[in-house]
Symmetry: C2
Subunit: 432 residues, 2 copies
Amino acid sequence: MPSQKPIKVALLGCGTVGTEVVRLLVDQADDLTARVGAPVELAGIAVRKPNKHREVPADLLTTDAAALVASDVDVVVEVIGGIEPARTLLLDALRAGKSVVTANKALLAEHSGELSAAADASGADLYFEASVAGAIPLLRPLRESLAGDRITRVMGIVNGTTNFILSGMDSTGAGYAEALEEATRLGYAEADPTADVDGFDAASKAAILASLAFHSRVTAADVHREGIASVSAADIAAARALGRTVKLLAICERVTEGDQESVSVRVHPAMIPRSHPLAGVSGAFNAVFVEADAAGEMMFYGQGAGGAPTASAVLGDLVAVARNLVQGGRGPRESAYAALPVRPMGQTPTRYHISLDVADRAGVLSQVAAVFAEHDVSIAAVRQEGRVDDASLVVVTHAATDAALRSTVDKIGGLPVVREVVSVMRVEGEET
Amino acid sequence: MPSQKPIKVALLGCGTVGTEVVRLLVDQADDLTARVGAPVELAGIAVRKPNKHREVPADLLTTDAAALVASDVDVVVEVIGGIEPARTLLLDALRAGKSVVTANKALLAEHSGELSAAADASGADLYFEASVAGAIPLLRPLRESLAGDRITRVMGIVNGTTNFILSGMDSTGAGYAEALEEATRLGYAEADPTADVDGFDAASKAAILASLAFHSRVTAADVHREGIASVSAADIAAARALGRTVKLLAICERVTEGDQESVSVRVHPAMIPRSHPLAGVSGAFNAVFVEADAAGEMMFYGQGAGGAPTASAVLGDLVAVARNLVQGGRGPRESAYAALPVRPMGQTPTRYHISLDVADRAGVLSQVAAVFAEHDVSIAAVRQEGRVDDASLVVVTHAATDAALRSTVDKIGGLPVVREVVSVMRVEGEET
């Protein structure tokens, strides 16, 4: 057994996740000691209002996070969230050679370069498994298990709130506003749901996933982001009619054109076939598909959020950091050597589903098809259905760029035979 | 950047997996150098018949594996399989302080203690991600990501051959012999399919999974093992009639009785509900469910075998080992501190499905139910169906031990009202 000197841990923040971290550290103290090779000791917990945290030992609480970080601790665990003061505190810790475990996706997605540089300079570890997909071991597989492979695609459901809302719309036929209200009432959406429903949370996670998968530095600002607020009951119904369902997906793709490689990183709602494994992921669960040249397709599934699941991921990282301190050595560093450029969304071809209300008369399809042809958007499948006094026309395209699609749809919307453009939505998860 | 001294690798074996390892090492040489911080160089490939390996560089081939291991190499990658000579070669390597990456499940399941001790004595690394579930990152998540959690259950489909056969029986109604023949014809089953169909392969993997999940040393001999040769078309039909399907499962469970903990490790066919995520895993794919106290339920899915997927896992380990050599430090060691005993199968309660052909007359159910009651086997559900001149009776029990169930079924088979015991099979994946 190596040194028995305890590993001293500073915990920054003590909300839902922090409370569970404290509980696990106490409940599993003996197991953690055996697994690490030394006791893991909580040295202090920085919070804003100590009297609000009766569930953790009072003598560990402090309001002075900076002093706690500067004190005699080996590891800093951060579960405050947000950019500041987390950024400054973690930079201080890393510069002082203290390893960091963080669940902070927003911080990582904006400042991972700065944090990694500080860790490298001092030789400290920086682990952040809990920042994406909660309890699901995902970053370690990407960073380590697949380090000898060439990842081509990462596509997943990484935000539980939006997935809960879209699952609700799909199963009840409710509109977006109604489904959001229900999610808020049940505690699945926050009072201000912007970060979730507008895709900011998923975009941060996509940036982190893309950085790891493609050995390139991708920040949240690089991610094309569309939320779910514009998904309508009509979109959901159109998807259902075609054996599809709508999910908010985070997609990171390697794009090869000639000998130029780039990455497309985007978050948007998309129709996927009901037979696709991601279609069955409902409520607050997360799941991520990964494709790599040699490994083929893989899927990771589990709880994407919540106190205990997120704390599990934090503890896994804490054990890794502590083992490194006991045994010597370091965890994987930032790997951004490939430095692939991010492809603008306007140049990223995706497939679309377009659902139209049209006049029920001969020649409609040929007029609509002509507009697609004119804009060089190739049609993959068409379905036409007559009803009492109107008809519906559904078109699924081959891959096309946003720009081409937008002008196509604008022109089609102006055709006299088209009564309404009911739904335009990207299609993912099918053979192209 | 740290030292640029190349990491020299000895490859033992060059079959399907080895050939792919060589290909990936060559194709991705630049990427691997960037990821590791030093070039990864193939120093030699030990094979039995050099003239059979025209696809790899001839000057690297040798028939003297022992000399290659003893030469100036840093890492030994073993993809020979089987116990000897692999065991002796890897022990020699580890004792000489050379790190080992192996895909050898049989060796790990029998001799992991000896190999780990040799690694610990010299400070070398021992990695074996490719030994279970091919390309699916599974061991690293168990060993590292969940190191701060308490795993309670690991249940999965870890053998592609048997899954292919059972999927075939389920979709075509074919019997076992016919489905096996088809699998052999298509190359999914080997000429001698014993290791797969009798569950030896899955049992080795179960031993490895249980060892990691429960921090205890579990060997293949500890695993209760039943193959699929006795699964009949009637079993599959009975499962289908109840909305279930039959899978060969590897199950590792933590069992708590009073303050005594033990582990149940077993491989056997079982009915699972068609709605269970493992039910949809068909053909040669693998999938593993993991349950942990804090993290909750997780699933890992991907290609469980094949040259390229297995080579991907080998390369991931090789990068980890090489990074440790460049940066200093070691990977996780064997963690067997919990030393939980393995519970004998006779004392492990599982649920059963029993399908009977019975006489179509009043009082049959009460006679059958009486036998269950007499043996203290509690009934969870019954379904009775009349047909032209006989009737079927299906019973699903609550958890019972093998011993109790066996005497119950023996006695029921002797009842005059019971024409035939059509199917007896364990049930998994449902709430108990």
